[in-house]
């Protein structure tokens, strides 16, 4: 039975979070924090989309523009956080 998850010598995928080296541990904390922030922003964006759709279906157009601007700002923040995650990930792997 083949129970290995990768090539010989490569760390097991499920063991990456167990007892990581200090630098990697700090990187993981940063990444997890950024992911949590992204999740919170997504919840806000989901609420915004729902409210804008309800308003549109009710015949009100005045809320569509602010909702789109705020949603775009949130999307930009999410992309920035993703770039941060990628940079931290690359930095940790490089060290």
């Amino acid at each position: 039975m083949n129970d290995s998850h990768g090539l010989p010598g490569e760390p097991e995928p499920f063991d990456r979070g167990v007892n990581p080296p200090p630098i990697q541990g700090r990187g993981l904390v940063s990444i997890d924090g950024a992911l949590a922030l992204i999740a919170v922003l997504l919840v806000v964006q989901m609420w915004l989309l729902t409210a804008a759709l309800e308003s549109f279906l009710a015949g009100h157009d005045e809320g569509a523009l602010p909702a789109t601007l705020i949603s775009g700002a949130i999307a930009a923040a999410v992309v920035a956080l993703y770039l941060f995650v990628s940079a931290v990930d690359a930095e940790v792997r490089r060290r």
């Binding site: 083949n2 992911l35 992204i38 997504l42 989309l49 804008a52 015949g59 789109t68 999410v78």
Partner: protein, 175 residues
């Protein structure tokens, strides 16, 4: 014959042929998860932009006279559904008396659910959030609808019932 004799005795044949671990297949790392979240966020922004474009391009409807029913086919208290002014604009026509017809948009002004005529209560009802409208003028009786139902102007010409316009009453306007 290697596939038969070359494997270990305790390994089933199907695992030799499908040597993919389910755990590996379902494993999602942080980077993949972050990409998924970013795509979701961009998708919701696109949704908001689509709503904005639709609200900008919501054109003024053109009202052309159209026959929506016949007097002879609609008994007193009867209901007929029709579309006016466009194919997607559902409306409801009710014959209240021998010579009295009323017609409204069938879309509830709250969230566009279809209203129906509750004959025994003499009102139009939206089943989604219990919004009630007066059958006489379309005004809001109770519930979350913010404004009266748009009224379709119906004229009787002989046996024909002809819709000629839709009167949209803004929020707060008395019916």
């Amino acid at each position: 014959m290697k596939w038969l004799f070359g494997r270990r005795r305790d390994t089933p044949l199907w695992r030799d042929e499908f040597a993919i671990s389910t755990a590996d297949e379902r494993y999602v790392n942080r980077r993949q998860f972050a990409k998924f979240l970013v795509l979701t966020s961009v998708g919701m922004f696109v949704g908001n932009a689509w709503i904005l474009l639709r609200s900008w391009w919501r054109g003024e409807p053109v009202f052309l006279p159209a026959t929506v029913g016949r007097v002879s086919e609609l008994p007193v208290g009867g209901v007929k559904l029709f579309n006016y002014p466009g194919e997607r604009d559902a409306c409801i026509l009710v014959r209240l008396a021998e010579d009295r017809f009323v017609a409204y948009s069938q879309k509830c002004t709250h969230l566009s659910c279809a209203v129906y005529y509750a004959r025994e209560k003499g009102r139009l009802e939206c089943p989604c959030h219990e919004g009630y409208f007066a059958i006489e003028d379309g005004s809001v009786l109770q519930g979350p609808p913010p404004r009266p139902l748009p009224k379709v102007v119906v004229e009787r010409r002989g046996d024909d019932l002809i819709a000629t316009a839709v009167y949209v009453r803004p929020q707060g306007t008395p019916a």
